[in-house]
């Protein structure tokens, strides 16, 4: 059954998978993002690093609009998000249909895995392809099995999440995100909730995906790993990009040396 599925070739577009321009986000009086611009090129890996509270996760969550920015522009897969704005230019709403369509192209792996406990491993992986992309169960299952194989979880396809270790759950969550065949994969601190001995099995999967040339945006505290896999590194400090560029540039930048030094 697994053999019946070949992953579709990724588009060779030069346009960025996601482009954010001057995002501003408040939580009450607290300004979490103070005008952040970020582009992720097709086929590259970008990591966002920074201390807790720097706005990393908020920035990532703006990329699939789990958080709605208060100001700024956002384009996903060449398509500008149609925000509704008030006369002052503040974002007050968005087009739900467009949002659902674009979210199918940008999938996410969460810190707490967030698998659906009442669905089996395979059920978790085929849910969105069936309900959102409208694939038949047969087709979704073929795709799902392919990606479960890919993360080494094919033999547990009928198990339920409660019966899996944290590392296994996160690998299933990665397969769930891959099964949508997204343009962009978002990772929100994917190893922060794992036991230390489980971290490497998940990092290994993510590294393989990077080597495959998948477009990914990661928020991570794993400095060595970020440096190793990233084409672009973004150092976020108090809601602003303090430094960005190649791993080497950022790690050598005096402004973030203090932050990255312990790991470097």
């Amino acid at each position: 059954m697994t053999a019946s599925f070949e992953p579709s070739p990724r588009p060779q577009a030069a346009a960025p998978a996601v482009a954010a321009h001057h995002l501003i986000k408040h939580f009450g009086d607290l300004e979490v993002l103070k005008g952040v611009s970020l582009e992720v090129e097709e086929g590259t890996v970008t990591s966002i690093i920074g201390s807790s509270g720097s706005g990393k996760s908020t920035l990532l969550r703006c990329m699939n609009l789990l958080e709605r920015p208060d100001r700024g522009e956002l384009a996903i897969a060449d398509e500008a998000i149609r925000f509704t704005r008030n006369p002052q230019g503040d974002i007050v709403g968005l087009d739900r249909r467009q949002l659902q369509r674009l979210r199918a192209k940008v999938t996410m792996v969460f810190q707490q895995f967030n698998l659906w406990p009442h669905l089996s491993v395979l059920g978790n992986v085929i849910e969105a392809p069936m309900r959102v992309k409208g694939l038949s169960r047969r087709r979704a299952t073929a795709i799902g099995e392919h990606y479960l194989e890919r993360v080494g979880m094919a033999d547990r396809r009928d198990a339920y999440p409660a019966f899996l270790s944290g590392g296994q759950q996160q690998r299933v969550a990665i397969a769930r995100a891959l099964a949508m065949e997204p343009r962009l994969l978002l990772f929100d601190e994917p190893t922060s909730a794992l036991d230390p001995e489980r971290v490497n099995e998940v990092l290994g999967v993510i590294r393989d995906l990077a080597d495959e040339g998948r477009t990914m945006l990661l928020v991570t505290h794993e400095m060595h790993f970020a440096r190793e896999v990233s084409d672009q590194l973004v150092y976020l400090d108090q809601g602003r990009i303090a430094a960005s560029g190649s791993s080497q540039d950022v790690f050598d930048d005096p402004r973030c040396r203090r932050f990255v030094a312990p790991a470097a």
Binding site: F110, V132, A162, F163, M180
Partner: protein, 241 residues
């Protein structure tokens, strides 16, 4: 103890009819009530403000007044009021509107809607937010998140409590004997009046209620155990150590 009346086919028929009516009333009220309960829970959690207030008022009134008073209110109050509506006796609904079963079911549906509505609301609130967020992040619509993720998870969480609500409902059913509906208690009352035996019919129907409760409990326990994703440590037939 004199159980000789049990061989009388008339009494057998009364008891059988009472048992069937009891089960029917239980089933109709459970299904209708749980559907209403989901609506009440949703109105409280996600409804526009007036609807949320209405749901709260409904819950407060139903839970704050005796079930027997509600039953009388609907049967003798609303029922008699409806009689005065011109043309209603000729309408197709009339057989329904003078049927005590209709008013019994209506009362119990509202009751289950209020009590279980609160149970379901609590369960919906305790579903981890991340699971629903994951649904939205993958592009599921609001309705899909509700029907595929939120409700199944909430029901999984409150199934043992809902089982308790259904058992309470079964034992509220004899209240309808007061509005001349032939349930088990009404059958027992008739037998008592005609044979002058007080304890024997009551003992018999108490046994029937007990047996029904046990079957109901085990059946719902079976549903609970077979709910997808249950943790292995909770897979015990009897919920005791």
């Amino acid at each position: 103890m004199d159980f000789s009346w049990l061989s009388d086919p008339f009494y057998q028929e009364y008891l059988w009819e009472g048992f069937v009516n009891t089960l029917w009333l239980l089933a109709v009220s459970a299904v209708g009530g749980l559907i209403l309960a989901v609506g009440v829970a949703l109105a409280r959690l996600r409804g526009p403000r007036p609807l949320a207030w209405l749901a709260l008022a409904f819950t407060t009134v139903i839970r704050g007044t005796p079930l027997l008073v509600q039953l009388f209110f609907f049967y003798y109050g609303v029922g008699r009021l409806l009689e005065g509506v011109p043309g209603i006796r000729e309408s197709a609904f009339w057989p329904l509107l003078r049927d005590p079963f209709f008013f019994g079911a209506l009362t119990f549906i509202l009751s289950v809607g209020a009590y279980s509505g609160e149970v379901i609301r609590g369960a919906m609130q305790s579903v981890p937010r991340g699971e629903l967020e994951a649904g939205r992040a993958f592009g599921l619509s609001g309705v899909q998140v509700l029907t595929r993720l939120w409700l199944p998870r909430a029901i999984q969480l409150c199934l043992p409590t809902l089982t308790g609500e259904m058992i309470l409902l079964l034992k509220s059913v004899p209240l309808v004997s007061t509005i001349a509906l032939m349930d088990l208690l009404q059958a027992a009352n008739i037998i008592r009046d005609e044979t002058f035996l007080v304890y024997e019919p009551l003992l018999l129907i108490a046994g029937i209620y007990l047996a029904t409760t046990i079957v109901l409990t085990l059946g719902l326990r079976l549903v609970e155990l077979n709910f997808p994703g249950m943790r292995p440590t909770r897979r015990r037939w009897l919920p005791i150590r």
